[in-house]
Amino acid sequence: MTTNIAPAPSGRLVLAHVWVAFLLFGVALLLGVYQVLARDGVLGSHAASYYASTTLHGVVMGYALTIFFITGIGYAISERALGTRVWAPGLAWLCFWVMLAGTVLAALSILAGKASVLYTFYPPQMAHWSFYVGAALLVAGSIGWIVITLVMSAQWKGAHRGQNLPLAQFGMSICALVWAWTMVGVVLEVLLQLIPLAFGLTQSIDVNLARALFAWTLHPIVYFWLIPTYVFLYTIVPEEAGGYLFSDEMARVAFVMLLIFGLPIGMHHLYMDPPHSAGFKLLQGIGTFLVVIPTMLTGFTVWASLEISGRLRGGTGLFGWMRRLKWDDPVVLAGVMALFMLILGGFGGLVNAAYAQNAMVHNTQWVTAHFHYIFGGVAVTGYFGLAYYFWPRLTGRALWAPKLALAQIWLWIIGMNILSLPWHYVGLLGMPRRIAYYAYAPEIAAQWLPWTGIMIIGGVLLCLSGWLLLLILFLSGRTLPASSATMAGGFARPYEATAVLPRSLNGFALWNWLLLALMAMAWGYPIVQFFLVKQYPALPWGFS
């Protein structure tokens, strides 16, 4: 569906969110470089600063960058897809300030060395209360975006009875639902367990209940991070590449499957925890394998869409069409690279999902390597693409130095591979994760050394790439006005015209009910057991 509209009415709202996201991103990249140097002993060994850095890096990358970027760009996508203004911009702005206040509070707490509990904040190690309150505000603020997105969908459907909700909005609505369901676990943990303990209102904590609640959140959050990139790949990249979306229906099927299979599978983060029975671990393990299917579907549909554009531009041969893709368009390049990284990184995910293989890699650097590869290589690359696509449409100005944007993306992908591939390997060699340096077992640590040295190069390249992005976006607000050709152009059209969709692929009620049943099945007993069986709560401990 093509829409031609002027610079987005909510440009300032979106830009505020995205700038906060990317500035924090820039800081977190510097921390990442510090960490990769410190772990190798290059900067001397300081556990206190390393763990504070890891906490800030993780909280920013996993929570702040993502929440700010996704909500901001979500507003832009919704407006553009539906052709309407953001609903209740006052609410959106209020939530922006709440999120920002929470982020600043938590960041100050971490920088003061009072919250080195990492981004998974596993109790009974306890941080200062300001950390938890800050995190709670950041998450609470994002509820506004959920509401706004779903209201905009409902309003559009009410005004366009019998029509298909535009795919991009369908995808972002699923994203909002995923986030709504996902956050329940960590919100319960933070509000009912961590904050009372941090304030001294309670004196002990059921650690295993907290871990189960957090695990509820810990897997589906990656779909919250990834779905905007998938929306980008389905609805923006094919159009920018000069082609068509291969299948609108299957894209919707993939989104729906991500919602219902992505939520009830967090227990693979608890595979090694004693309190949960092997049966439930197997059940959620099966679910984890099922969520492979929509990811594979996405791979197919996006690949096919790119192939259409390649062939339309004169490409021939089984793979030769790839040469005809619009490699000189940063938006397309970001899309192609994100897809490429998704294919490679997905295999690591299969290892983690299979618990017998997971036993070899659990809590080693393999895990860290895997999620940097997927998050940085797929999700964040997609964020770059979204930023380059929307910048002219938000600012009314052309992108500054598109060639430099290409270089920025290549630098990112190359850096991510140089960082991550040796990282996977040292994980297989047994290197534990979350260590400030390795002074132990000289007999084994010597094996890790050449690889961790190579990783430093990757880390530095990534940091350069991230700062280059900041430079490009900053200067893009100051250069020539965007051409009308850039401002026009809308979302990708499907290759075959979409008939009227079944209600199940145009609405969410059925899936919410199904998800409720699946969550009850997967998480019902595993969480309730902590209230049925006598538990011995733990005392709070510091992290130093």
């Binding site: 002990s204 000289p442 005392l539 510091g542 130093s544």
Partner: protein, 371 residues
Amino acid sequence: MKLLCTFATLVVATALTGVAHAQTRPSQVAWDLKTVNFIKSGQAERGKTLHAACVDCHGATGVSPSPDFPDLAGQDPLYTYKQLHDYKSGVRVNAIMQGYVAGLSERDMADLAQFYARQKRGGGNATPVPDAAAMTLVKLGDGGRMLVACVYCHGVGGGGNPGMYGMPALEGQKGAYLQQTLHAFASGERHNDVYRAMRDVARRLSPTEIAWLASYYSGTTVAPLAAKPASVGSAPASAPAVAPAPDAAAPSASEPVASAAGSGAGWYTPVQAERGGKLYAAQCAMCHGAALGGGMGPALAGRSFWTQWGGKPFAVAWKEVHAKMPMQAPGSDAAPVSIDILAFLLSRNGVPAGSAELNDRADLARALPAR
């Protein structure tokens, strides 16, 4: 009273027969919610009254007048409570203290602990010792010996760790007392640390390092003590003879304390020792000192040598040197090289020379002489 006498006799008797018996009985203090809250509710005012009996040894404000008696002022109250409790239950052995705590109830102990916690700490600040190796030990520990850095439990500068339960502050504590304590942990004489936490740390330290740590935390200079010799019933440097559980898969007992065979006969040839000396100078001297006095690595002559390897099968020393050294590339030396270096070390420690070369087969089971 009779019960108390019997109890006291038992305790003293146990102390005299060595640590083997008491080692099986751990500290009765556990950091559960009840205990932690109980100690928190201790009343310092009441503690002040009780403290009158302690003034002679521990000072009017908990700062002791004697270097052998520890300061109590400003100490973590959980730690103070635990020590009083352990004295009373006999898990921590000291004839003097046993007498003083005999009449204390747990409420009294909590009150005393709170009183001392509120007193101003005496002593100076932790002062870095000139030897760089000492500060490395404090701040980074020693990976090869599985030694965690002191700061992670005792806080930066030894100020204590409120994030843990019952971790003593060390800063400004009496140097001689700190040294005695570490030696007591090393030999197992003091064993009220839960799960051998301090015993496993102290037994891997050389007397020189213990003196460094005592100097650092007290802010004074403490000279190294003679180490307690490895004796039956104490914990030697590797698998302890009083190990809680026999190693499941060791058909031969791991490292018997002493064996009669070979303690007097020659161990190496002078030529071999000379070869070893050259190898030592090239490979080991930069860390262990040209005169084996230590440096970045521990000393290899004198008390350091004898505490670690005296009286034990040669296999222990062989394992340490051949498999774990040099530090930056463990196990990289060929066996003849390691053997020659060991011959040199033996020669420098007064182990007798003979007509046969030291070898890494027949000599493994021979026990080195004890000192």
